[in-house]
Amino acid sequence: MEDSARIDLRSILREANVQDVFDQLDRDLVGLAPVKRRIREIAAFLVVSRARSQIGLEAEPPSLHMCFTGNPGTGKTTVALRMADILHRLGYVRTGHLVSVTRDDLVGQYIGHTAPKTKEILKKAMGGVLFIDEAYYLHRPENERDYGQEAIEILLQVMENHRDDLVVILAGYKDRMDTFFGSNPGLSSRIAHHIDFPDYSPEELLAIAQKMLEPMNYCLDEGAGTALREYIERRIHQPNFSNARSVRNALDRARLRQANRLFEAALGNGGDTAVETLRTLTEGDIRASRVFLDNPPQKAPVEARTPASTR
């Protein structure tokens, strides 16, 4: 190959339709700027190494195993799903499906149970992406005979030998993941990309809430919008806050209260309800939450277990 030969990167990018995924990523996912930047970087790297291999400059396929760290509800699973799609479009995994597992799916109950179980999952994930949520549970330092270690060893072996067959993504809280890697240096060194998911700001959470309500055909009236913003600002400082997931739960409970309110109103006026009221969540639906109590119980979990208790 002559040095003067040119290769069209844009055509590779266009062929892979990656731009679609980027646009979708920007449209569907609120915030997460550093994550999106990293995904773009990885995609750019893949496009370039694809181009390099086309002209025979590269032999080894790049290592694509990743680690997603961040607090609960920051979108790790959602991004992993998109990642599978991107890798598929760029031709680095063959089918682009995501197999999402936790410790229970990999580690067996008794001696000799772990290896077949882990291998079964790995076989299912081949050609796609294996997403291991809360991966640090695989390693139990307090029990040295724990079968988790066996699962890690099989995982390592497959990650190394079947690099072009599957991509492994580990996910979990940042600090616990760091400890996990500290005690499993072999695993850490085989993961090329560490991506940290930041917490959402209140504005971003509000935007997320709007995005969640849209496909469900609900809308917030003016009072409910401000109430929700206030709710989020209060909720952030309370224990067990899990970002987008907390917002989703709050909306689910608001929908329940709305249904209850409409039902009671319907019983009163003989069942006549306007279509618009069926769509609208009002300020009262949001403000009924326990989060708005002036002195919320300090010890009790704030995330309500049953809708009745939030009243």
Binding site: R94, T95, H97, P116, K119, E120, L122, K123, K124, M126, G127, G128, H162, D165, L166
Partner: protein, 144 residues
């Protein structure tokens, strides 16, 4: 007539062809997975045509999307039983079929002595025929 044509066992698909390469095996498995069939790996050292049930290597593999996992299992089986017959079957669980839809040999012993025909004369000059494998005289595990 030669009962052991080309000194090769001819059972299942592609058995008159030269051995399939790994790429060809992968392509066949891909076809099976595309149809939603469950693929499994079996082995035996008693290839009598009436020996329908071979030993299963590992577990049957359901819900796989990609042939790479099955090829991994085939290679593991080849490593464990290098001198035995290994076949890949694809089982169709659809109602009405409920049967293997594909079956082909992916590994065979180096030397295949084939089968002998035993003629037993019974009353009224009738003859009963039996097919027996030359290799099956020796105990299991020492046959090939």
């Amino acid at each position: 007539m030669m009962s052991n044509h080309g000194k090769r066992l001819t059972q299942g698909q592609f058995s008159f062809l030269p051995d399939l390469s790994d790429a060809q095996i992968t392509a066949q498995i891909k076809y099976a997975l595309k149809n939603g069939w469950a693929v499994n790996v079996e082995y035996t050292d008693d290839p009598h045509p009436r020996n329908t049930y071979w030993e299963m290597y590992g577990m049957p593999m359901f819900d796989l999307k990609d042939p790479a996992g099955i090829l991994m299992e085939i290679n593991a089986c080849r490593k464990t039983f290098p001198g035995q017959y290994i076949r890949v079957t694809a089982f169709d669980a659809t109602r009405g079929w409920e049967t293997p839809r594909m079956s082909f040999i992916v590994n065979r012993p180096e030397h295949e002595p084939g089968f002998g025909l035993v003629r037993q004369e019974v009353g009224g000059r009738n003859i009963r025929y039996t097919v027996r494998s030359y290799a099956a005289d020796r105990p299991e595990g020492e046959r090939y």
